[in-house]
Structure formats: C-alpha cells, structure tokens
C-alpha cells in the first residue's frame, strides 16, 4: 500500500514538473522567434536605407557629371579648361569633346584623342542626338585610350563611359564624353557596407553589372539576378529575401536612380544578420535553462524531503507493531503500575512461572516471593529503581507448583513528563538450567586442571593467533615457567627458542588455516636444561558449531632417545651414499658392498659388482708394476691414493682419483679394504678449457691471433692434401677510431661485439672468424673450389655478404650507428707461402681496399681481382639476361630404334648481346654458385612446358616427350615439387610428356627427401631419367629405391664404344641393369652409325646425338621433325 502511494505521488510530481518545463520552453521559444522576425525586418529597413543613401550619392554625382559635360560641350574650354573641370571631381578620369564623326577631338588626357566611344549600346538608346546623359557598358582599362571589353575576370582598372549631346544655337549639336571612375563609387560603398556582412552592386538599368563590392563578382557581365529585373518592371524600389548562388540567403533591397539608368542593389547576408540574434538566443536559452534547472532541482529536493518524512512516519508505525510482537517474546514480561500492581503479563511469563493472567493481574507483585531473600534485598531493588530507573540481577522465585527457580530479572521504570514513575516493566528469564550446567562444568574443569598439572606429556590449547590458552605443567617446566598458568596469553614465538618456535608456529598456522589435524609429526625441541631433543606432535583444530576454527589443541611427547639411534643409522647410510663411489672388499678382494655413486661412475649395479673383484674395472692401461706398487703401499702404510684409469661397463676408459684404506681386525690383520673413487673426467676437461682460454679473444669470444695462426697452419695442410683452395679475408672497420674518440671505448667495444656476431653469421660452419685486436678481424675459409676462378668467386660471395651485413646500421645503446668495412682477400692452395706470408698478403690487399675508397674489397693477386671482377660482371649480365629474355631453349631430338623421333632434350643457350651464343658450360656453374640457377631452372621448365602445350595441339608432335635437366641445387629447394606443379598448372602441359633429368650427385643428398619429392612428382605423371649414368657413385641399392623411369648412358662410354672393349662392357651392363630394374635406357652422344649399331646390338633402344641432329632452335627442330624420315639413317 505505501509503495503504491509513493508511486502515485511520484507520478503527480513528474507530470507537474514536465508541465512547468514545457511552459517555460514554449514561452522562451516564442520570444526568440519574435526577436528573429524583428531583426530580419530591421535589417531589411537598413538595406533599403543604404540603397537610398547610395542612390542619392550616385544621382547627385551624375548630376554634377551631367552639368560638367554640358559645360564642356557648350563652351570651348580648351584642354586646360577640361583639366580644371576635373580638379574636384574624383569620380571622373577624363572629359572629352567629340567631333561630328563621333571621334574624340579634344580631351583632358591627350592620349584619348582620335578614339571613338562605341555609343551603339549606351542607355538610354537613341537613334539621333538627345539631350540626356547616356551611359555605356563598363569597359576595362584606365581610360578611352586603353578601353577594352572586360574579360572573364575582374579587370585591374575599369571605367564607365558616358556621353552627353548638347544642342547649340542654330540646330547645331555638340557631344561631350567622360570616363567615370567606377572605383570612386566602389570605395564609397565599401566604406559603408562591411564586406563580410553584405555587398553593394551597381547595375545598369538593363541589368549589366557595373561594379560590386563582392570580390567574386564579375563587373561587365549581365547580372545573374533576373529577379531584380523582374521586380524592377513593377516597382523601382523594393526589398525581398533572395536566394544567392552558393546557397546563401540575403536580405536584398534595390533602388533605381531617379534620373539615370542605374539600379543600386544592397544585399545583407542573412546568416550574418542572424549571428547576433543567435548569440542572444543561445544566452537566453542558457539563462532560462539554468533557472529552470535550478527550479526543478529545488522542487526535487523538496519532494525528496517530503518522501523522507513519509517514510519516517511509516517506520514509526512499524516500530509500534514490533513492540507489540516483542511483548510476546520468549522472555517473560510483566507490566505493573507505580504501586507494583500487576497490569499485564505475557504468555512466556505464564510458561516460566506457572501463573496465568487471571491469577495475577490486579494483584501485587509479591506472589512469586520465595522467602529466600531478606527484606533488605527488595529494599535495595526499590532504591536502585528510584535512583537509576533500572535494576537487573538474579533472584530466586517460587513457581506456582512450589519449586524454587533462579530467574534473571530486569526491571525498567517508565516515567511521565515530570519524571514520576508511572509503570515498571519486568523481563524475566529462567536460568535454573543454566546454573545446573555451570555446576557440571566446574567439576569438569577441576579434573582437567588436575590432569594438566600432572601429565608428563606436553598438552596445550591455543587460540587462532597461536597464543596459549592453557597447557600442561610439563610444558611450563621445559619452557622455564613456574606454572602453566603463566603461559596463558603468551605467543608460541615468545615461549620457545628461536630455532624451534617458527616450526611449531608454522604447523599451527596451517592447522588454523586448513582446519585439518596434524598427526605424529617429529620436531626438534629443547628440554629444561637446553639439550636438543625430539618430540612427536599431534595437533587438532578446535571447531565451533558452524565449523569455524576457533583454536587448536595438541599433544607432544619426547622421543629423543628413540630418534638418536635412528639418526645414527641414517647418517651412516648417507655417508656411504656420498658423491664419491665407495667400494668395500673383504681381505680376499671380493666386493662386499658398493654405493650408488659407484654404480653411477662405473655403470655396474650393486648386483653386478658384489661377488666380483675390483679387477672388473681394469682398463688395461696400467701394467703389472702399477698394481704391485699399489698393494705394496697398502701393506706398508695401510692406504693408497692416486690417479688411475678404469674402464666403465660400456667400455669407456676414464680417469679416476682413488683412495684405498685398509681396515684391520683385532689381531691387526687386514679384514676389509675400503676404496673411494672420484670420476675426474670433468676436471680434466676443465683443465683443457683453461688452456683454451689462451686462444680466444675475451671481448668477442672469437679465436685470437694465436688460434687463427694455428688454424691457418692446419688449413694450409688440409688444402694441400685435398687439392682445394682456402682464403684469408682481412676485415677492418672504416673510421673506427672516430667512433672510439667520439663515443668512448665502451661504445667501441659494443660495436666490435656486434660486428663479431654478424661476421659469425656470414660464414659456413667450419670456417673461422678471428679478431686480431683493435678493429681487425680475419675470416679464414677452407674447402673452397679446386679451380681458382671458382674459389675466387666463392670468396667474393662471402666478402659481398660481409660487406652487406656490416653495412646494416647498428643500434649502439640507442644510437643509430653506421659503419663500413674494408676487406682484403688472398687465396691460397698447395703450400703457397707460409702463414705469416699469407697474413701479410691479406693485409696488403686490405690496404688496397682502403686506398680504393673503403667499404669495398680487394684481392691480393691482381689477376684474381680481375678474374673475380669478370665473373661478377658475368653474373650481373646473366641476371640481366634472365630479365631481358636473352636465354634460348634448344631441343636435341631423341630417336628410337626404328628411327622415329620420340622426344627431345631441352638445352639452354644464352644469346649474349656481345659474346654471341654462350654454351651452358660457361654459365651454368656460375649460376649454381650464385643461386641464379633457381630462376634459370624455373625459366627452362616454364619454356619447355609452354612448348609442350603448343605441340600437344599438333597431331604429328603431340607424342613428343621433352626432357628437362634439373640441377641438384634446384631440386634441393624445399618447395621444388610445388614449383613444378605450379608451372604445369599455369602452362596446362601434359605431365606425362615431361621428363626431368637428374644427375647421380643428387643421390649424395638426403635420399629420403629425394625419394619423397620424386614420388610426389611422379604421382602427377612426370617421369624421371638419371643423366650421365655410369660416371657417378650410384649405389645399386639406391637405384632400386628411386622411382626412376630411364637411365641415360653417359656419352663418355658411347664415344669410345668401338675402341675400348671396357666401355662396351659397361654399356652392356647398364642396359642389363635397366632391364632388370624395369627401366628404359637411352644413349647420348651418338655420333656415328657404327656407334648406333653397336648400341642397338647391346640392346639399347633409344639414342640422342649429332648423328641425328645437333641441338636446334624451336623453329629448326619443328622443320627437322617435319622433314625427318625414320629409316633414312639405316640407308647410310
């Protein structure tokens, strides 16, 4: 009900508020709308007034001009007279008189003479002379002598030509002309109308714009405002709201001149006009809004206060209801008047005392008196009530059934306004049961205290903060307290010694936190004399009814004696299981016991070792004398120690430090031997490591000069042995000293470390980067190509990489630093000079690199420098060749035993612009080295596939299979399979007509990878031939596993087939091998009919070679295929 009433109140309040706000807004809106209309009206009047003023000024000015012209025409003034007329007429540039032909005869500006004003389009129009001022269109130029029709933009200067015919005596006519200074009027208008707020236009009566204060207007053009012309037809004066180009609205007033053919138009920008109104409107709305908000806020506050009062009233009513319910509570209640006469009791009172209202109401309060209290007791209660208005305490009362009950009674005095008691209210609780329980608890406490005093265990109860509530006397004794009661309130951390207290405290924290007991934990402790011992403790949480932990109790018992013996045993066991290997034998050298370290070191398990003799470990590195000396020492001194080489179970020989001690029995005879052994392999290695430190540069961790020279000597030997090349690269940072001087040595060191890191990233594994000191680095390359030109290129490629890598800017502690290197290179092979000599050469090469302008590299050997440069040039050209399509694909026919063309091998040629046709032998190795083989191979594959596609459409060529050579490097690319498939997809060639030729060297690679790639491509239908078969290292086992289709007999066997019987044997074997593996076979390099026939005799069914055709261009191949007659060769 109150909720509903509240909602109702709020709804009414909201509606009233909204109404007030709406009214205020409406009134404000109406006022502002009125103000706006008035402002527009006011500015219309302003515009009209301005138009009138300007018209007045204009008409008067032209009156004077008219008068001046009449005077000029009537009186023969001469040039000086004309000039005089101009003196006070700033609106005129010149005055002239015309001759009969209409040409200027005399002018204040002599330059005008001879000019003829074109009077055809003057206003008002006239066929003959008339006595009025006539106005021409605006002309560009300063005066008649430079008059032009105005162009598309506003002219720099302009004037309005006017003429006046004057009738002279004797029907004689004279004409005067003037050029009117348009700027004069413009200045006048500009000074009176703010260009931002509006504009003034002067029109000729026919609408031609003569001038405008608007910068964008085009004087001289017909005015766009047709509306003004239309309105002019009805009224010469007017004002209206006008829509201007560009979306502007203006308040426009116009006025035609009283006497001359002019119209003045004044436009005021409506937006500008309303700007002030807008600001005012904003301010008004702001003020009204603020006032309205303030009014709403205060009425809201008032409403809130009203609501609070209503709520308080409801709360009072609720309190009264609660009081009524309280009276019917579980406590007995009795209300008496001031004379202790019972007025009212509740149900609980009847339950507690047995008396019903009917029995006691109206009577005195003494019906419950037990007679056990004397009269002083009751007098004291009365006095207390009189003094403080309340009394509370225990009282013995008599139940209706006669039994005595202990009650807890509270009496409160109710007073009237004068402070006189009017009523007493008594509250009664029966505490008889409570008293009984208390008695029982007292008994329990007595027994428990006795227990605590006498037990020998440590018993304790603590609160959640680990403070003692009570404990056994035994505990007080060990902690140095006289009585256990002294411990109450003490904290665990304060009671126990600092090294044990945290352990106990930690346990108790866990129990309090987790509510879980701790059972049988062994902890250290100190007894009353401060001796360290052990206790076994069990502790439990104490929970209240809700399961909350309110404390804990525990029992701990001294177990020191028990622990001592256990610990001794454990120490012995641990000592034996130390990090050293331990071995115990009896006097006869039989192994009795070994430890785990022994097993770890030797590899022999306990079971394997026990029962054996230490001979088990012998490495065979020591002779008989060594062991004899050992036993001699054992016998004489009872001990031996020394380094010994032993053998592990896995056969590994390792160094060991061994100590053997003899254990003597009671008679002094050896009963046991105890040996301890330590594996000193790591120590030996560490010694080695220390020695190595002498070989490394501590700043960069690179090899130092010593190690470099060592490696160089080693490399010199290897290179000579393997008939390969090595290279020494000296690298020096340009301007390193400047960095050190500028940024300090710390920054220099940082750069050297970064350079070292980058250098290491530039070389292959096995090559060496060393730092000689300062900013000098050396790279040692070995295992370079046997041919010096190739080796030179390899060294150059590394050099290029180093140049590029070291050129990348360095981040030196936030500074961006750019640094360039110079590199000197020398190649070596086969004991070419000693290492010192080589170092000198590389250093010299470095100097020539510095001399060549730094950030470059130079070879020591000028010929090598030339060769490397030439190859670098060739590489560059090859790159260009690839881009510019200088490569050609040639096709060499492949023929079967019947002489029919079955396919062709695609061979790449380079149509070099300078060198002519270049064979693959000249550039394929270079392409391999420089990775150009990837784009080159791809180009060959793409070209061959496109050719296949074209041939597939021609029936006589559709069967041709094209073999394409794939280089090892190309095949190794991880995405080789995807590349080939993509080419096939792009070209649309039939994969079954594509054969890839691989070389045997491929088989030296990861064979599984090779097989996987071949299998994947074969699944597409591509077939594989093994090229140059017989020259390589093919294992037959490998051959079997490869998904091959064809073997190609190398031309070296074919060439001497008829000369060397061995070659014939090899060829025959290859054919047989192919047949057995289910592969086809083809011979290449077939040059004579004899070779062909021999091969046919060996069972080889397919051939390729000059006997049939050299490699041909596509066009030549197609002609060759057309003209080829299969059996022609057989007729030779």
């Amino acid at each position: 009900m109150p909720v509903q009433a509240r909602r109702h109140r709020r709804a009414i309040f909201s509606i009233v508020t909204l109404l007030v706000a709406f009214s205020a807004c409406s009134a404000t809106g109406y006022t502002l709308w009125r103000l706006r209309a008035e402002r527009i009206q006011h500015h219309f009047e302003n515009a009209a007034m301005s138009a009138r003023t300007f018209e007045n000024h204009l008409t008067q000015s032209f009156n004077i001009i008219d008068t001046g012209l009449v005077q000029a025409a009537s009186d023969d003034l001469g040039a000086s007279g004309l000039l005089r007329l101009l003196r006070h007429a700033p609106y005129l540039r010149s005055i002239s008189t015309l001759d009969a032909a209409g040409q200027i005869r005399l002018s204040s500006d002599p330059r005008n003479q001879g000019r003829a004003p074109a009077r055809g389009d003057f206003l008002p129009p006239a066929a003959g002379p008339v006595e009025v001022l006539r106005v021409g269109p605006l002309l560009s130029g300063r005066d008649f002598h430079e008059a032009r029709a105005p162009g598309s933009s506003a002219p720099l200067s302009s004037f309005i030509p006017v003429t006046r015919d004057v009738r002279l005596p004797g029907e004689h006519w004279m004409t005067a002309a003037a050029s009117v200074n348009a700027d004069y009027f413009l200045n006048f208008y500009s000074a009176h109308v703010d260009p931002h707020g509006g504009s003034v236009d002067l029109l000729r009566y026919d609408g031609l714009l003569l001038l405008s204060t608007d910068e964008h207007a085009r004087p001289g053009a017909a005015d766009a405002s047709q509306e003004i012309l239309a309105r002019l037809a009805t009224s010469e004066i007017g004002s209206f709201e006008e829509q201007r180009p560009g979306g502007r609205t203006t308040l426009t007033a116009y006025r035609a001149s009283r006497a001359y053919p002019f119209v003045l138009v004044v436009r005021l920008d409506k937006e500008q006009v309303l700007e002030g109104w807008r600001q005012e409107a904003g301010r008004s709305a702001g003020i009204v809004g603020t006032v309205l908000l303030a009014a709403l806020a205060s009425s809201g506050l008032y409403f809130a206060r009203f609501e609070r009062l209503a709520r308080e009233r409801e709360a009072d009513q609720a309190r009264l209801r609660i009081a009524a319910i309280a009276f019917e509570s579980q406590e007995g209640m009795v209300v008496t008047d001031a004379a202790y006469k019972v007025l009212r009791i509740n149900k609980a009172f009847t339950t507690i005392t047995g008396f019903t209202p009917a029995e006691v109401v109206g009577g005195s309060m003494n019906f419950m008196k037990s007679g056990l209290h004397d009269s002083d007791f009751y007098t004291a209660i009365r006095e207390r009530l009189a003094q403080s208005g309340a009394w509370a305490g225990e009282i013995l009362n008599r139940h209706k059934d006669g039994s005595i009950h202990s009650h807890y009674l509270t009496i409160t005095t109710v007073r009237d306004d004068e402070g006189h008691p009017t009523h007493y209210v008594g509250t009664l609780t029966d505490i008889t049961e409570r008293r009984r329980i208390e008695a029982e608890r007292d008994e329990l406490n007595r027994d428990f205290v006795s227990f605590l005093d006498n037990t020998t265990d440590f018993i304790y109860f603590k609160d959640t903060d680990s403070r003692f509530r009570f404990c056994s006397q035994a505990l007080a004794k060990v902690t140095g307290y006289r009585s256990w009661r002294d411990l109450t309130g003490k904290h665990t951390l304060d009671v126990f010694p600092p090294d044990t207290a945290p352990i106990y405290h930690g346990e108790e924290i866990a129990i309090i936190r987790d509510g879980k007991p701790l059972i049988g934990k062994t902890d250290p402790y100190y007894d009353g004399e401060g001796r360290r011992g052990w206790i076994s403790s069990s502790k439990w949480p104490i929970l209240d009814e809700s399961g909350k932990v309110t404390g804990l109790f525990g029992i701990s018992r001294d177990i020191t004696v028990h622990m001592r013996s256990e610990i001794d045993l454990r120490i012995a066991a641990i000592a034996f299981e130390s990090q050293e290997g331990m071995l115990i034998t009896d006097a006869s050298n039989t192994i009795l016991r070994v430890n785990r370290a022994f097993t770890r070191i030797t590899g022999y398990s306990e079971a394997e070792a026990i029962g054996q003799t230490p001979r088990l470990l012998r490495s065979g590195h020591h002779d008989r004398d060594f062991y004899a000396a050992m036993y001699a020492s054992l016998h004489s001194t009872g001990a031996w120690q020394g380094e010994i080489w032993n053998r592990r179970k896995n056969g590994e020989i390792y160094p060991e430090w061994m100590t053997i001690t003899t254990v003597l029995d009671s008679e002094g005879n050896p009963s046991h031997y105890v040996a301890s052994l330590t594996d000193i392999t790591e120590r030996k290695e560490a010694e080695c490591e220390i020695r190595n430190l002498a070989f490394y540069d501590p700043l960069t961790q690179l090899p130092n000069r010593r190690l470099l020279l060592d490696r160089l000597r080693h490399t010199l030997a290897t290179v000579a042995r393997n008939k390969r090349h090595g290279a020494l690269l000296f690298i020096d940072l340009d301007n390193f000293k400047t960095l050190n001087d500028t940024f300090g040595h710390d920054m220099g060191d940082l750069l050297l470390q970064k350079v070292a890191e980058r250098l290491v990233g530039c070389i292959r594994e096995g090559d060496t980067v060393a730092r000689l000191g300062g900013d000098e680095f050396v790279v040692l390359l070995d295992d370079l190509h046997p041919a010096s030109a190739e080796a030179g290129t390899q060294a150059r490629i590394v050099g290029d990489k180093i140049l590029a890598t070291l050129n990348i800017p360095y981040d030196l502690a936030g500074h961006d630093y750019h640094c360039t290197p110079s590199i000197g290179i020398t190649l070596f092979a086969d004991h070419e000079g000693e290492s010192d000599e080589l170092m000198k050469r590389a250093d010299l090469a470095l100097y020539s690199a510095k001399a060549a302008g730094r950030n470059t590299m130079r070879f020591f050997d000028p010929e090598m420098q030339a060769a490397v440069s030439a190859r670098a040039a060739l590489e560059k050209e090859l790159r260009i060749a690839l881009q510019q399509q200088e490569l050609r694909l040639y096709y060499q026919p492949q023929v079967n035993e019947h002489g029919a063309i079955i396919g062709a091998e695609a061979l790449v040629r380079w149509q070099h612009p300078r060198l002519g046709l270049v064979t693959p032998a000249s550039f394929i190795p270079l392409a391999e080295e420089t990775h150009l083989i990837h784009p080159l191979g791809l180009w060959v594959l793409e070209t061959a596939c496109l050719q296949l596609m074209k041939w597939s459409a021609i029936p006589t060529r559709a069967h041709l299979v094209v073999a394409v050579n794939v280089s090892v490097r190309q095949f190794r690319q991880p995405d080789f399979v995807e590349q080939v498939c993509a080419v096939l997809d792009r070209s649309g060639a039939d994969p079954h007509k594509l054969k890839l030729e691989l070389t045997e060297s491929l088989l030296l690679d990861d064979l599984e990878d090779v097989i996987a790639k071949m299998t994947a491509l074969r699944a597409r239908g591509i077939s594989f031939a093994l090229d140059d078969f017989g020259t390589g290292y093919s294992s037959l086992a490998y051959l079997q596993r490869l998904p091959l289709d064809q073997l190609k007999i190398d031309q070296s066997f074919v060439r001497d087939l008829h000369v060397h019987p061995n070659d014939a044997v090899i060829a025959r074997s290859i054919v047989a091998l192919a047949r057995n593996l289910g592969l086809s076979v083809i011979a290449e390099g077939v040059e004579t009919t004899l070779q062909r026939n021999l091969l046919a005799g060996l069972g080889c069914p397919a051939y390729q070679g000059y006997l049939f055709s050299p490699p041909l261009t596509r066009e030549a191949f197609e002609i060759f295929a057309e003209e080829w007659e299969p059996e022609s060769d057989e007729r030779d």
Partner: protein, 266 residues
C-alpha cells in the same frame, strides 16, 4: 669625405653672408623671428581649415624657439617647391616644416640636426586591384604620382624602372590623380600618410616590406650664418636634453619616426 667637402663649401660661402649681418642679430633687433612653413603638412605644420589655427610639431618647436630667443614668431607660408627660394631670398629666417635632407637641398641650404626620420610610403585607393603590396608598385602599367618639389620626386625618378612617374604641380594634385584612378599610387612620408588615413575613407596605406629609403628631417636656413645656426643647434640640444622635443613628437603621434638622437640621453 662628403662631410669634409661640405665643410669646405661652407667656409667658401661664409665670408659675404656674415658681412651682410647675421639672422640672429636681425631677429634680436626686430624682436621677431620669421619661420617658413608649409601649411598643408599634417602633424608638422598644418593649418586647420576649420579653425585657421596652426598645429603640428614644428609649430610647437618654432614657438618654443621664439620663447627661447624671447622674440615673437611670424609664420610665412611656403612649400617644398618654393623652399629654396624662400630661404635663400631671405623671406624667412628659418624653414621649420620637417624638411627632408636631400643632396639637392644640401647644396643650397644649411640644415640643423635631424629630429625625424621617415621612410617612403605609398597611398592607393581601397578598391585598387593593381596594388596589393609594395612589390606591385614598380610594374608595367602602374602610374605613380609625386608632388613636384617634394623629396620623393628625385628619389622615385631614380628608383622606378617599369612604372610610369606622374609629377603633379601641387600636393592635392597627386591625391586627385589617385582618387580619380588616373594614377595608382602616390608616394609620401609618414606624417602625410597618416593624414590621408585619418581624413579620407578611400585611402589605403602600402608600406615597404623592408626599409626603402630613409630620409632625415630637419630645419633649413641659409648657408654661412654660423652664429644663427649655432644658436638654433643650441636650442635643439637643450630641447633634446630637457625632453621638450620628445614631448612635442609624442604630442603629435610621430614617435614612430623620431630620429634616434631626439630622445634625451637621461
């Protein structure tokens, strides 16, 4: 060098004029000092057409000089065109109307220390489309007006390369030429340009972007009369020291063109 030549020139002329009797003696004898002014020089020596009263810094200075000499002052109307003849033919004892020190005038007249320094300014009409900035002035097709006899005439004749120079007989003439559009700008100095801006609503000031041609302004008298010159210099030195000169400059709002030496050192 130049100064040495001028000194020689002065010594050469000194003899005869001094013999004819100095102006100082004459002024003290007649108890009247005749001062040439140009009554159209706004802020300098301007005769207000409404009151016919003279006003301007040099009117104030002339009266102060007369007070200093304890004589009456009589103003004689002159102009820049008549200046040299009025002074040399002894129509006045001194010309006090901010006379620009030019080489041509220095040949004929003796100047006191300059009290004002003005650059050249151009006045055009608000609606003129040719002239937006100073750089637009010396362009083909532009007509530049100067008044005959003013210091601007020789300077502009010397400086203009492409524009046409129009020399008017009177100072009003150059204003009329510009207002009527027959000329685009006329050249004047700071005080006159200020008058144009304050009294017309069509004039627009075009100031040089940087210093164009500074001319020091001073008072002129006959050459060779050393006592008179020394007396006037003495007066000017006193007026500078006691702030009288600077007060006059400020009173007529000419502080932007006060010569550096016009301000008192203390």
């Amino acid at each position: 060098m130049k100064r040495a030549l001028a000194a020689l020139w002065m010594i050469a002329l000194a003899g005869p004029n001094e013999a004819a009797g100095g102006h100082l003696e004459r002024v003290q004898a007649t108890r009247e000092m005749r001062v040439c002014i140009w009554p159209d020089y706004y802020g300098i020596s301007y005769r207000n057409p409404k009151t016919q009263q003279l006003e301007g810094i040099d009117i104030d200075m002339a009266r102060a000089l007369a007070r200093d000499l304890n004589v009456a002052v009589r103003f004689v109307d002159s102009s820049f065109a008549q200046l040299v003849s009025d002074v040399t033919q002894d129509h006045c004892d001194i010309a006090m109307f901010a006379i620009g020190i030019t080489p041509q005038r220095s040949e004929k007249l003796r100047f006191t220390r300059p009290h004002l320094v003005s650059d050249i300014y151009a006045i055009t009409t608000k609606s003129n489309r040719r002239i937006r900035t100073w750089d637009d002035i010396d362009k083909p097709g532009v007509v530049v007006a100067v008044a005959k006899g003013t210091l601007h005439e020789p300077i502009m004749r010397d400086k203009l390369r492409q524009a046409t120079l129009l020399v008017t007989d009177t100072t009003q003439g150059r204003e009329q030429e510009v207002e009527s559009g027959r000329a685009d700008v006329f050249m004047t100095d700071f005080p006159f340009s200020r008058r144009m801006l304050e009294t017309t609503d069509w004039a627009r000031l075009v100031a040089p972007a940087s210093t164009y041609h500074l001319t020091p302004y001073a008072y002129a008298m006959q050459q060779g009369d050393n006592p008179w010159h020394a007396r006037v210099e003495q007066f000017l030195a006193d007026a500078t020291r006691n702030g009288l000169l600077m007060d006059a400059i400020r009173r007529h709002k000419l502080d932007p063109i006060a010569a550096p030496a016009s301000a008192s050192k203390n």
